[in-house]
């Protein structure tokens, strides 16, 4: 578990970009947090880090957006679904291809992939501040999180908490 505090949407994008630059084929990023917590903003940063040239828009209405970057990026929003609908729509088939970013991963229920990087965005004390919690499952995602922490240490991010 690792926590980082970002103080603006621009910092959230920057954090996402750092992550995006480190991602490898098969990585799965799960983003939880309430409405307006910055999930799509973080994804926009990830897309920049992956070299996606077009703007990343919210997939709430359309469910899945695909982008061609250094690796293919699949951006899913499960807001309106339950695990049964996720299963019937075949959305779990995206896992393991390219980079998959999932908003509202709580909706996956038992379909949660065993290895992933879970990111939780919570409102901070200040209005534009966000507490970003990170938890990695499986060795490759643990390695990924470690690399991200090294990265962030060097660009003097905001306050960092955690062991």
């Amino acid at each position: 578990m690792w926590q980082v505090v970002v103080d603006s949407a621009a910092a959230t994008v920057e954090l996402g970009r750092s992550l995006g630059e480190l991602l490898a084929n098969g990585d799965i990023i799960l983003l939880s947090g309430g409405l307006g917590s910055g999930k799509t903003t973080l994804t926009q940063g990830i897309a920049v880090g992956l070299g996606v040239g077009e703007p990343v828009t919210s997939p709430s209405f359309t469910l899945v957006h695909e982008y061609a970057g250094r690796l293919p990026l699949y951006h899913l929003d499960l807001y309106r679904l339950d695990p049964e609908a996720v299963w019937e729509l075949g959305l779990v088939e995206y896992f393991g291809r390219g980079v998959v970013v999932v908003e509202w991963p709580e909706r996956l229920g038992a379909l949660l992939p065993r290895e992933h990087l879970w990111v939780d965005l919570q409102p901070g004390a200040e209005e534009n501040e966000r507490l970003v919690w990170w938890r990695a499952k499986g060795s490759r995602h643990r390695r990924l999180l470690k690399e991200l922490r090294c990265r962030c240490a060097s660009w003097a991010l905001k306050r960092q908490v955690g062991p």
Partner: protein, 352 residues
């Protein structure tokens, strides 16, 4: 006489309509699935897909009956190829392919945004070019430059949330029922639009793009602050102030596009066009600037088949046929569907 059947199943409406010669609306039937979705608080794609399977066939038959036509009278069948929900789109595409194949008539794939544009053409078949059209709905917020038939360019688009999506998300946050847009508008009527000053995202000075994500976050922050201070939420004021922020940006950017491209007609389409506050603000701006304003009637603003048939007519004239291998494309981009070099405009300038 060329009668075209248009089919749209891009989202939660099974819709079919018949238009003759690209301008005479003969029927427009919509089987809304709103009642099915209300239980889920939004469009659930799998539900949408299954419901289309059962609701589309009777809608097709009704469209023919209301037009007083039979299958044999159809000259072509047009269908929304994308963008939209893939499971929903492919029901319409499969139906259109089957009809075209069985009736031996051309199959015309249509881009959904082009369909919305031609809902304005149906409302005013002699509108003068160039026109600027604001298409605002749950899935889109785009500014289109419409220089001539089949000469359409996206000049602005949202970089995050669509306007209708922002309405839906804020409505849900405020605890309003689905569909969120009309419920929020209703609530806003009783509120003070100046009660809260929510941010307007103008972005860079030159751009015609939109952004509504920050506004959504500002509304959430504002509500949190009020709740933390122990006060009850003035829901109507929040709704009215939020709506005012969305409308101001939509109107201002549309006006900018009209100035930039020296447009003579200002058109409004998409589900958000049903919003009274947006209609009034655009009407006031258009009359002040001397622009011709075209706003289709409500039944043409939401997704419908007639607009697809009307757009299909001009694509038909341009020889843009599909075949039995036509596939639904959920992320279809207008610039890929209508490449800028496509010489459609020389095929038909009159619209007759």
């Amino acid at each position: 006489m060329l009668a075209i059947l248009g089919i749209d199943t891009s989202c939660d409406e099974s819709a079919a309509g018949i238009v003759v010669d690209g301008r005479f609306l003969r029927s427009n039937v919509i089987a809304s699935q709103i009642a099915v979705h209300r239980a889920y608080g939004g469009v659930v794609p799998e539900v949408a897909s299954r419901a289309h399977l059962t609701s589309l066939p009777p809608v097709l038959i009704r469209a023919l009956e209301e037009a007083g036509l039979s299958y044999a009278d159809l000259g072509a069948v047009a269908v929304t190829q994308g963008p939209g929900l893939v499971g929903a789109l492919l029901v319409g595409v499969a139906a259109a392919k089957a009809l075209a194949y069985a009736l031996k008539i051309p199959l015309i794939p249509v881009h959904h945004l082009l369909g919305h544009l031609y809902s304005c053409w149906l409302a005013r078949p002699d509108l003068s070019f160039p026109a600027v059209c604001l298409v605002a709905s749950g899935g889109h917020t785009s500014l289109l430059l419409w220089e001539d038939h089949l000469r359409v360019t996206v000049v602005g688009r949202t970089r995050d949330d669509a306007a209708g999506e922002a309405f839906d998300k804020v409505a849900r946050y405020l605890g309003l029922p689905y569909p969120g847009g009309p419920a929020l508008e209703e609530l806003a009527r009783e509120g003070d639009p100046r009660a809260f000053s929510f941010p307007r995202a103008w972005l860079e000075p030159e751009t015609l793009d939109f952004s509504f994500s920050g506004l959504k976050t500002a509304v959430v922050n504002c509500c949190r602050r009020l709740e933390a201070s122990g006060r009850s939420l003035p829901l109507a004021d929040v709704a009215a102030s939020f709506q005012a922020a969305v409308v101001e940006v939509l109107v201002e950017k549309t006006a900018r596009a009209m100035h930039t491209f020296r447009g003579s007609t200002l058109a409004l389409a998409g589900g958000v066009a049903a919003n009274e506050s947006l209609r009034q603000s655009l009407a006031a701006r258009a009359s002040a600037e001397g622009w011709d304003l075209v706003v289709p009637p409500r039944e043409l603003c939401t997704d419908n088949g007639a607009m697809v048939a009307a757009a299909g007519y001009f694509l038909y004239r341009g020889g843009r046929y599909g075949d039995v291998f036509l596939e639904a494309v959920p992320a279809l981009r207008l610039e890929d569907f209508l490449p800028p070099f496509f010489p459609g405009a020389i095929v038909d300038k009159s619209g007759r």
